[in-house]
C-alpha cells in the first residue's frame, strides 16, 4: 500500500521515507526545469532573491503540454533530473526538501540531500496523461516568458511517486538493479 504524505514536507514524514517506498503526495509543488533553474541561480548571484520561498517545498521537474480548453493542465510527466544537478545543491541549501523527476542524480546532489535532509521522488516517466489527473490547479507564478519552462504552482492530490533517494543515502536505482541482475 502506498504511503500518503501531505506537502509541504514535515521532517518526521521525510525522515521515515525509504528508497523504494510508493507514495501519494498531496498539497502544493512548484514546477521548474532547465531554463528556470538556470535563471534562478544566475539571478541569485546578482543578488535577486528566488521567486519562491523554498523552505520545506518540493520542486517538480516538468514542462507540460498546453492545456486543452477546460483542462487544468496538459500532460505533465517528469523530465530527466540530472540536467538540474548543477543547480540543485544551492536550492537544497535554501531549504528545498523534495524533488520529483526521473533518472540518476549526481554524487554531489545525493550528498547534499543527506546533509540538508531532503528526498528525491521519481514519477513514472511517460505516464503524463495519468499524472495530469492528480493535478487539481495550475498557475504560472514566475518566468512566464519561458513558456512550458515557466515556474508554476501546482496543487496536487494523490500524485503517484516512488522514493528514489531517501535522506539516509538509500538509492532504489542501485538496490533494485542489484536485486534483479542475473
Amino acid at each position: 500500500m502506498p504511503k500518503k504524505i501531505n506537502l509541504p514536507l514535515q521532517e518526521t514524514d521525510l525522515m521515515a521515507l525509504k528508497a523504494g517506498d510508493r507514495v501519494l503526495l498531496s498539497g502544493v509543488v512548484y514546477t521548474a526545469r532547465d531554463a528556470a533553474h538556470k535563471r534562478m541561480i544566475e539571478q541569485k548571484k546578482e543578488g535577486i532573491p528566488f521567486p519562491i520561498d523554498l523552505t520545506n517545498q518540493v520542486i517538480y521537474y516538468v514542462g507540460p503540454t498546453p492545456a486543452k480548453p477546460g483542462m487544468v493542465i496538459g500532460s505533465a510527466g517528469p523530465t530527466t533530473s540530472g540536467r538540474m544537478d548543477l543547480y540543485t545543491p544551492r536550492l537544497l541549501e535554501a531549504g528545498l526538501k523534495g524533488m520529483i523527476g526521473k533518472g540518476y542524480r549526481s554524487e554531489e546532489v545525493k550528498q547534499a540531500m543527506i546533509k540538508h535532509k531532503a528526498v528525491y521522488f521519481g514519477a513514472v516517466g511517460g505516464a503524463a496523461a495519468l499524472i495530469a489527473r492528480s493535478i487539481k490547479s495550475s498557475e504560472v507564478i514566475a518566468y512566464e516568458d519561458l513558456g512550458t519552462e515557466a515556474i508554476r504552482k501546482l496543487t496536487i492530490e494523490n500524485f503517484p511517486v516512488f522514493v528514489i533517494n531517501d535522506a539516509h543515502g538509500g538509492d532504489v536505482y542501485q538496490e533494485g538493479v542489484a536485486q534483479y541482475k542475473s
Binding site: 523504494g20 510508493r22 531554463a35 516538468v62 514542462g63 507540460p64 503540454t65 498546453p66 492545456a67 486543452k68 483542462m71 496538459g74 500532460s75 505533465a76 510527466g77 523530465t79 530527466t80 540530472g82 526521473k102 533518472g103 540518476y104 521519481g122 513514472v124 516517466g125 511517460g126 505516464a127 503524463a128 496523461a129 495519468l130 499524472i131 495530469a132 489527473r133 513558456g147 512550458t148 503517484p160 516512488f162 528514489i164 532504489v172 536505482y173 538496490e175 533494485g176 538493479v177 542489484a178 536485486q179 534483479y180 541482475k181 542475473s182
Partner: protein, 281 residues
Amino acid sequence: MKKIHYENIVEQVAEICKKSNYNLGEDVYSAFKLALQTEQSEIGKEVISQLIENADIAKAEQVPMCQDTGTAVFIVEVGQDCHIVGGSLVDAINEGVKKGYGEGYLRNSIIYNPLNRKNTGDNTPAIVHIDLVEGDNITIHMTAKGGGAENMSDLKMLKPSDGIEGVKKYILSIVKEAGPNACPPLVVGIGIGGNFERCAYLAKKSLFRPLGVRHEDPVVAELEEELMSEINRLGIGPQGMGGNTTALDVKVEVESCHIAALPVAVNLNCHASRHQTITLT
C-alpha cells in the same frame, strides 16, 4: 505523371503528428500487457500498470501520452515518378508539423540554436530523411522522438578486431549507462556498418519497425533476440528501479562498410515508441 498536392501532405502530416502522440500503437500496448505477466519486480509491475492506464487515458481523451511530444522525425519514401505540386516536400512537412502540434495541443520542444536556446514556437523544423524509390507514391513514416532517450544514445567507431563480441559489449554498456534516464522499458535501435553518419541513421531507421517484428535476415534476427535477452538480464527494469523488463524490443539494421571500419550506433527509444505511416497515392 501522378500529382501529389502540397496541401494534401500538410493535412496528412498534421493528422499523424496528433495520432502518434495520442494513440499508443497496438504493438507497444501488447508488449506492456506481456511485460505485466513476465515482470518479476512488484515496483516494475506497478510502473507497467501505470503505463497501460496512461495509454488508455491518452487514447480516450485524445491527449498526449507523454509531455515530451518529441522531435518530429520523418523518413519519406518518394516515388521517383510522382510530381509534388504547390510547394516543396520539406516545406509541406514542416507546415504539417506546425499545424498538427498547434491544433493538437502538443508541446513545442524545438529551439532555433543549441547555443542560444530560444524556442521556435511551433516544433519545427522537423528532421526529414528522404529516400528516392521506384513508383509514384509517397510513403511517410513519422515518429515523435522523446529527448530523454535520445540524450542517452551513442555512436562508436569500433575496430574490426573488436568483432561481434565487441559490438555486444558496447551496446550493453550504453543501455547500462542510460539506466533510468532513457525511460525504460526501452526499444533499443542499433545500426551496424555504413559510415559515421549512415550508422546513426540506420539505428534511427530500425526504430520505425513495429515491435515484435524481427529482421528478415535470420542472422540479424538472432542477434536481436540475443541482445534482447542479455539486456533484460542487466536488472535495470521498468524506470530503472530493478526488474527483468529493460527492453520491450531490440532492432538491428546492418549495412556494408569500409574494410577499416566497424561503426556501431545505439539509438535508445523510451517506451513511448510513437510511429505512424501513411501512403499518399
